[in-house]
Amino acid sequence: MTATEIRPTTDALLKTQAPKKPMNTGQFIRWLLLFLGGIAMVMPIAYMISTSLKWPHEVYNLKLIPDEPHLENYTYVLEDGRFYWWFVNSMIIAVITTVCNVIFDSLVGYTLCKFRFPGRYIVFIAILSTLMIPTEMLVIPWYLMSQQFGWLDTYWGIMFPGLMTAFGTFLMKQFFETVPDDFIEAARIDGLNELQIWWTVAMPLVKPALAALAIFVFLGNWTAFIWPLIVTNSVEMYTLPVGLSSFGDEADVAWELIMTGAAISTIPTLIVFLIFQRYIIQGVVMAGLKG
């Protein structure tokens, strides 16, 4: 997976296309940029995997291929009970948060999009404006609030700030604009109540957006670090990123173990992506047929 290994295949690709359509400079530059971008994306992952296969003394040697690759780190991490705790914690939090976002963001987005009520615009602007406040600024009020309510070191404490997001609401509102009002009115005439209309008519039509939102929220929560680090105290309540960062002792950070845990923890994100990717493609196909 080194650069030198990738280049020949790309070159080969370019060569096979060359006779049909000679490449001009612009195209070449575009390919080159994409290629460099690809490398930039792949390198951290390559190093993560590589490091997870190294012995501790090799870690600071930046060779991509370890001298003696081994799986001891994986055995160690998987046999360490804490890893499971953190994995389960992260999973519970990411799944619940994702489900909540998919439901609440789309409920609010739908309401803002399809109902005319006084103050609707103000509500929308208020929600949007929260996008401008960075998490770092919110962490202290969140903490104080959690302390008052006794939410510190609980799942609820970790999850509550993210159960709804302004971004998700905005995204869903925009997507519900693509659902024709006729669809909603037809269902109303057929006797469905507003909640049924939202669920059986509107939601299936924005599946691609829901899939994108789900991926986005899941990844965001799966990799969240600052807030879980602050709100949790006990090792059993740690999430994966917080837990992994605690590997090693005060004197030395065990990078090979952190990288091993990180490598394992990418698996669920891949699965989530593979599941929802289908809907995104479906959505593109559906949109194409509509015209």
Partner: protein
């Protein structure tokens, strides 16, 4: 099934009033077509009947029941939308059955009803398909099926054919008419196409700017238009409008011709004389229009000729075999009983 009554219906959006108190009686089983130019309030009226909008004032009565305060689902109506409003993520069967979702029928009864409706519409083989696998006409049929499945008292159609091509439109027009003869429910059908209105309706309601201009059978609105608007709106090509004045009960035309019509109007009153192109032709008789032929449009069995006179173009019908040449001076005439006389100031029919 039921009759429908609209009493003094007013609809206002904020400050603009779009319906100015319309009243209408529709009998049980009648096929009524609302027609009028864009923005005249046809859809608004339909949406008020459906309960998708609230009336500002006035009453809507369906089957003897004032429905103003009822939810759409409780009004015993079904609506077919211009864009079909059939759900792309559901099969044809699900779409047709959607109208039964909230009904208390048993599952087997529902299935039987869906099959029955699909049978009537000739869609039995398509039930398992998704809308994306259907043609435009088939989609329209699904939308109609969805409305039919509940057997509502009143069907509401809002320009359901305007997304179809001309040929399919003619075909669906016929199908809807046959369907009406077969199921017999009351139908309110909105269109801005006067041919659609003429061919389908038992009665036509012609609207303009939120007012009803005339209600009548196709023959009535064609032969006895209440005003110049209706006269010009119904019939293609449009009725020719000539100006004249009343003189001693007779009509003096711009061409100088005086017609003894026995008009009951004040001396010197300006009037508008309407004459349909199909009634106007070159020949001997009272000379209504004199002028040169500017354009000819051969239609086979007859030819439309455009004649320049009184600063406008008058359309007349000439024989298909030996029409006058372009540039030729012609005199156009018509039977006196085919003339429509309107008050020039108000546009209302005098005769």
């Amino acid at each position: 099934m039921a009759d429908l009554e609209i009493r003094n219906l007013v609809k206002r959006y904020d400050k603009t009033e779009v319906l100015h108190g319309i009243s209408l009686d529709v009998e049980d089983g009648e096929f009524v077509v609302f027609v009028g130019p864009s923005g005249c309030g046809k859809s608004t009226t339909l949406r008020l009947i459906a309960g998708l909008e609230d009336a500002t004032s006035g009453e809507i009565v369906i089957g003897g029941r004032v429905v103003n305060n009822l939810e759409p689902k409780d009004r015993d109506i079904a609506m077919v939308f211009q864009n079909y409003a059939i759900y792309p993520h559901m099969t044809v069967r699900k779409n047709i059955g959607f109208g039964l979702r909230t009904s208390k029928m048993s599952k087997t009864d529902k299935e039987a009803r869906i099959d029955e409706v699909a049978g009537i519409l000739g869609m039995t083989d398509l039930l398992a398909r998704k809308p994306s696998q259907l043609s435009g006409g088939q989609r329209q049929r699904v939308a109609i099926g969805r409305a039919m499945v509940r057997d509502p008292a009143v069907f509401l159609f809002d320009e359901p054919l305007s997304n179809l091509d001309a040929q399919l439109r003619t075909q669906m027009r016929l199908e809807i008419k046959k369907l009406h003869q077969r199921v017999g429910n009351t139908i309110i059908f909105v269109t801005h196409d006067q041919v659609e209105a003429m061919t389908m309706a038992d009665r036509i309601v012609i609207m303009k700017d939120g007012h009803i201009q005339q209600v009548g059978t196709p023959a009535e609105v064609y032969h006895k238009p209440a005003n110049t608007f209706v006269a010009r709106f119904i019939g293609a090509p449009s009725m020719n409008m000539l100006s004249g004045t009343v003189a001693d009960g007779a009509l003096r035309l711009g061409s100088g011709e005086v017609l003894e019509l026995g008009l009951d109007a004040a001396d010197g009153q300006p009037v508008t004389v309407g004459v349909r192109p199909e009634d106007l032709h070159p020949g001997a008789g009272p000379a209504l229009v004199r002028g040169p032929v500017t354009v000819r449009e051969p239609l086979g069995h007859e030819t439309l000729i455009y004649v320049g006179a009184e600063g406008q173009e008058v359309i007349a019908k000439a024989d298909g075999r030996t029409p006058p040449e372009v540039g030729e001076e012609v005199t156009l005439t018509a039977a006196l009983d085919t003339l429509h006389i309107f008050d020039a100031a108000t546009g209302n029919a005098l005769r």
